[in-house]
Amino acid sequence: MDLNGLYESIALIKPEIVISLTLLAIVLFDLILSNSKKLLPFIAATGLAVTLVIQIIELSTTGYAFSPQNATLFYGMLSVDSFGAFFKVIILVSSLLIVYFSAVTDEIKQSFDRLGEYYTLIFGMILGMMFMTSAIDLILIYLSIELLSLSSYVLAGFTKIRQRNNEASLKYIIYGAVSSGMMLFGISLIYGMAGSTNLVELNNFIQSGSINLVTFSIALILIFAGFGFKISVAPFHFWTPDVYEGAPISITAFLSVASKAAGFAVLIRFIRVGFVSYVDSDGFWRLSEVFDWQALLVIISILTMTLGNFSALWQDNLKRMLAYSSIAHAGYMLLGLAVLSNQGAFAILVYFSFYLIMNIGAFFVVMLIANKLGSENIDDYNGLGLKSPFLGVALGLFLVSLTGLPPTAGFIGKLYLFIALVDAKMIIVAVIALLNTVVSLYYYIRVLKKMYLSNPTEDTPEIKTSAMNTIFILILAVPTLVFGLYFAPVVDFAKMCISFFGV
């Protein structure tokens, strides 16, 4: 066996290796020193911080890992490049935030004796997501999606305090297993036609012609079901509101950011590596004429954002409302992919970095309020902004940013998305997205109205935030505001990261 190739491949997956080692360390620590569970979050945070540093050092590393020998084409199981690195940074940053988030969530605190399992499963999810961002072999894509899913099924029902936890994980696993089963069937059809599960070979096969277009389209739609489930776009979104409402809130925040980021990364790479025959001088991807991805993606994204925004209008539970809002955001981001250009992919990267801070921030404030009130119902928010001004202002800022109003970061994310759409002359689609944003204003502002324009009742609590929580909120709120005015660093970073390796 060619050991040199193996060593080179292993050098390319250092971040994943550190994550795996941390996972093992957590399992062992939980087994051996079961009395000092308080230290587990610190181990998790240290592992993540080390990985993040390694990932940032390795930002510009490129190469194929685990290439087959004696192949006519040069490819591998993983394609390590700066595009994947960007998403890995997003995943690691959000995981770090979630570790602190979990440590202060009451729901998780009540399951203190099972904290070891909790962090083990979280790291299982992170490992799956890290492989998803750079996988270019359909089987590795499937396996890493399953690694992510299996851990998240358990975490969705982790706390077992209320009935809704169980229901969430049952719904999640049934929808998830069906869509991943459909995806696997699609992969098996692709394997039968192309003779390989590798995207590079698939691209080669598509360009050689001689494809049965009907079977091929069916296979692609089946595969899209798997991706669509992960990024929760219509019509594969039915699980999202139920799971987001039923799961512990730290997991909801994690699913809505990191798992969605990984899903987008793998979908973008799937189309970019598998179907693009060449990229023209303006950065538009010219796809092989076997399947009309653009039409499918435009229809699905319009459907997704409209459905998400209109369903969010009548939600009284904030977690459920944020779930529908995250469906709508998936729709916006999918438009960036539907443009099929470097500009569009770049817009998704920018959008995601802002979506990360504002969404985790919104969930964090909702969690702090739920810790006190025991519910996320909007009727309990009467006059909350007057009694707890700091939390009110913070939640207001995050919600305004999620709407996409200036001068917040959310506005810049949407701006780049619309620029990409207009550049591609998809004006009508841009107008529909803009109208959707107007609709979304209603349900975000409704929360603000409850907090500030209703008089506080006797039940309205005065919530004191501890120093650490205040700092955490500031860490998220200050960038939300600052990036709305001075966004050059994020934009430059994203611009640096849209190069794909190999193709």
Binding site: I139, L143, E146, L150, Y153, V154, G157, K160, Q163, R164, N166, E167, A168, S169, L170, K171, I173, I174, A177, V178, G181, M182, L184, F185, I187, S188, L189, Y191, G192, G195, S196, T197, P241, D242, E245, G246, S311, W314, Q315, R320
Partner: protein, 102 residues
Amino acid sequence: MEVGLSHFLVVSTALFSLGIYGVVTRKNAVMVLMGIELILNAANINFIAFSRYGNFGLNGQAIALFVIVLAAAEAAIALAIVLNIYKTYNHVNVDEIEDLKE
């Protein structure tokens, strides 16, 4: 009559359709999970048949092994969750588990 690739594909497509049908119509969570197993095994048959008749080497059969392991893991987790559901609701009828509705 020689058994060829198309025979295998007919079987796998039938299994896949049966699996989807089972998932959609069955009310018992365990039966839904069995439908999911059928879908996964339909894909397995495809992989093995293609790798045997398409001369693609042994890749397809290796993939089938991966899928079998994964199906086992998924079934283990799913059954644990169903057991939990049974403890809380005293039944496993997926249609009646609907506390999370708007």
